[in-house]
């Protein structure tokens, strides 16, 4: 299979995944809740009012018709009307995604270099106490839920030391520096979770590369330790890390729900959470579908990038 056919094949798979995902989201938001009008108006509302609302929302139409009008709207950028705000969903979702991207960007900018550094140092000092400390601390940081580490950091930095603000939302009209300052605290729990994963993968990749034949050859050729590590080991060691960073994107988005709720920050996670609480199904469906699309796209890019950078993988080989 040629390069372009392989890329095309992966694109098709990604589109199929997205279509299936849209069916899942549609089922979750339209079929599972049962009577949406009843859910919104409450158990004591008049049956005729419920019926009228259902008609107005268009949910008394056949499911296939509803799905088609929903998904074709989505593709054209029309995400429907919010039940709660009686306004189009799209601007809310776009605003929330941009906010979440700011938060995620800060977390990634902090964690990727530090995580890789931690992994590389651990690998170079494999089985020493430095290595064990990094591995155990990384593992512990990774498995503690965001709201738990978040609360401990709030106590230390906001309440006892008074050096970081309690919320993630900067005052209106704040400049970029102030915004970053407000986002530091919410990014710490995300940092904690990601650090362990990235460090672990970087360490494993590094150790594998250090024990490989090409490293042996490079050493025997008489290259200095510095040259061996930078020219031969690093490149191969960092490849798996790309995959981890991509798969952790999905994880990060899940974490955003908790972190944004904890720090009262208006991103896609808190948008989905408040839509779920208010049973605002169009908002919920749009938010979730956007998240799924981001995840599938990021993974597709990582997949292609990994293959492009890895000399040992030819496209479209056996699965």
């Amino acid at each position: 299979m040629g390069l372009y056919r392989a890329i095309f094949y992966r694109l098709v798979l990604a589109v199929v995944t997205l279509l299936l995902l849209s069916v899942i989201v549609f089922a979750g938001c339209q079929i599972l809740p049962g009577d949406v009008g009843r859910a919104i108006l409450g158990p004591f509302a008049d049956a005729r009012a419920v019926q009228a609302l259902n008609h107005q929302l268009g949910i008394d139409r056949p499911l296939l018709v509803q799905y088609w009008s929903w998904i074709s709207g989505m593709v054209r950028g029309n995400m429907g009307m919010s039940y709660t705000y009686r306004a189009p969903v799209a601007p809310f979702v776009i605003h929330a995604v941009l906010n979440s991207m700011k938060l995620a960007a800060i977390a990634f900018i902090l964690v990727v270099p530090l995580g890789i550094l931690g992994g590389v140092v651990a690998a170079l000092k494999a089985n020493s106490w430095i290595d064990r400390t990094i591995v155990i601390a990384g593992l512990s940081a990774t498995v503690v839920p965001e709201f738990v580490s978040g609360i401990v950091f709030i106590m230390v930095f906001s309440i006892w030391l008074h050096i970081l603000p309690l919320t993630g939302t900067a005052p209106r009209g704040a400049g970029p520096v102030t915004q970053i300052y407000y986002l530091l605290m919410p990014s710490i729990p995300l940092f904690m979770i990601l650090f362990g994963y990235i460090a672990r993968m970087a360490r494993a990749g590094m150790i594998e590369a250090l024990h490989s034949d090409y490293t042996r050859t490079a050493v025997l050729k008489g290259l200095s330790r510095r040259q061996v590590i930078w020219r031969h080991v690093m490149r191969n060691a960092l490849l798996p890390t790309i995959t981890v960073i991509a798969t952790q994107c999905g994880y990060l988005i899940g974490g955003l729900v908790v972190v944004e709720t904890l720090f009262n920050y208006h991103g896609i996670g808190s948008l989905i959470f408040s839509a779920a609480k208010a049973k605002d199904f169009p908002m919920l469906a749009a938010g979730i579908l956007v998240i799924g699309t981001v995840y599938v796209t990021v993974n597709l890019i990582a997949d292609l990038l990994y293959s492009a950078l890895n000399p040992r993988i030819s496209f479209g080989g056996s699965r």
């Binding site: 995944t17 997205l18 498995v143 738990v148 988005i253 904890l262």
Partner: protein
């Protein structure tokens, strides 16, 4: 991951290693690993507290004392009291119960569903495998927390819903691991021999293949238990998991965290430390099991 191949009959067995001996050696290795032992001790402590907690705590978890609300930690209330005058120490101890019922049951459900799913898709291959794999991919494009939130919002929050949602989602992940393991086994000679004897597929899957892929399933299960505790705690924090009046840790944090700005840190910190110790304990244990099986 390649390590379990050493157990399969096709690999040249190093000098008569009986399964029993392998397990004995592995247990000995586990007990020599400090992180595993520490993790196991933490885990045993919390399981013990979940069982006998209500009988050993100084106060009832729901006993209110409106004359002593929000008192800081002191001799009569080790971890202080909350805004209803309930003893935080007693609530932390008893609060281990729900999460230690819900998370393991969800993990168990996930392991069972995943094992069956992985055995069937790995063995069937072809169209069944392709279709199921696509659907699994689509579900896994959603973070577990979001998927759980979607279903729980639609169906209502209860311990049963949480167990089912987490269990089924884990089933998909475990299924992928088991499928990969089955793919490594299905072309080996012992499977071909069973086929020639005319054994039915169900027999081949569950009696012939399953025992050989138990190690990766065990690793996956212990790792999943950590994720289950993580997810149940997070859902409870969001109000979508374990419901009041349980003294559950995540739930208690969500009810009290508005108070920490006022300096009442003890109404939140001890629950947070409890969750932290439990997840770290479970994951140290899982890590130990994984490194011994992969060794």
């Amino acid at each position: 991951m390649s390590a379990h191949a050493a157990d399969s009959p096709a690999a040249p067995a190093p000098a008569m290693e009986t399964p029993k001996r392998i397990w004995r050696e592995r247990s000995a290795m586990l007990l020599r690993s400090a992180p595993f032992v520490v993790g196991m001790l933490i885990l045993i402590f919390w399981v013990l507290m979940a069982i006998i907690g209500p009988w050993i705590v100084p106060y009832g978890a729901d006993d209110t004392d409106l004359l002593n609300t929000l008192t800081p930690p002191a001799a009569d209330h080790w971890f202080g009291t909350d805004q209803f005058g309930r003893d935080v120490f007693s609530r932390v101890i008893v609060g281990s119960r729900d999460i230690l019922i819900v998370a393991p049951l969800a993990t168990l459900l996930g392991t069972l569903v995943g094992t069956v799913l992985g055995l069937v898709t790995g063995y069937a291959r072809g169209l069944t495998d392709d279709v199921v794999s696509r659907i699994v991919e689509a579900f896994l494009a959603l973070p577990l927390l979001i998927l759980a939130m979607l279903v729980i919002t639609a169906l209502g929050a209860s311990n049963a819903t949480v167990i089912i949602v987490i269990g089924l989602s884990f089933g998909l992940v475990v299924g992928r691991t088991v499928r990969a393991a089955v793919l490594g086994e299905r072309d080996l000679d012992y499977v071909a021999a069973a086929n020639l004897r005319g054994e039915r597929p169900a027999y081949i899957l569950f009696v012939e293949i399953l025992p050989n892929i138990l190690p990766p399933i065990l690793v996956e299960t212990t790792v999943r238990l950590g994720y289950a505790i993580f997810t149940v705690a997070s859902l409870s924090f969001l109000g979508l998991g374990i419901q009041p009046p349980s003294p559950d840790w995540g739930l208690s944090i969500s009810q009290n965290y508005g108070l920490i700005g006022g300096g009442f840190w003890w109404t939140v910190l001890f629950y947070a430390l409890a969750i932290g110790s439990l997840v770290v304990g479970v994951n140290l244990t899982a890590d130990g099991v994984q490194s011994v099986i992969d060794a």
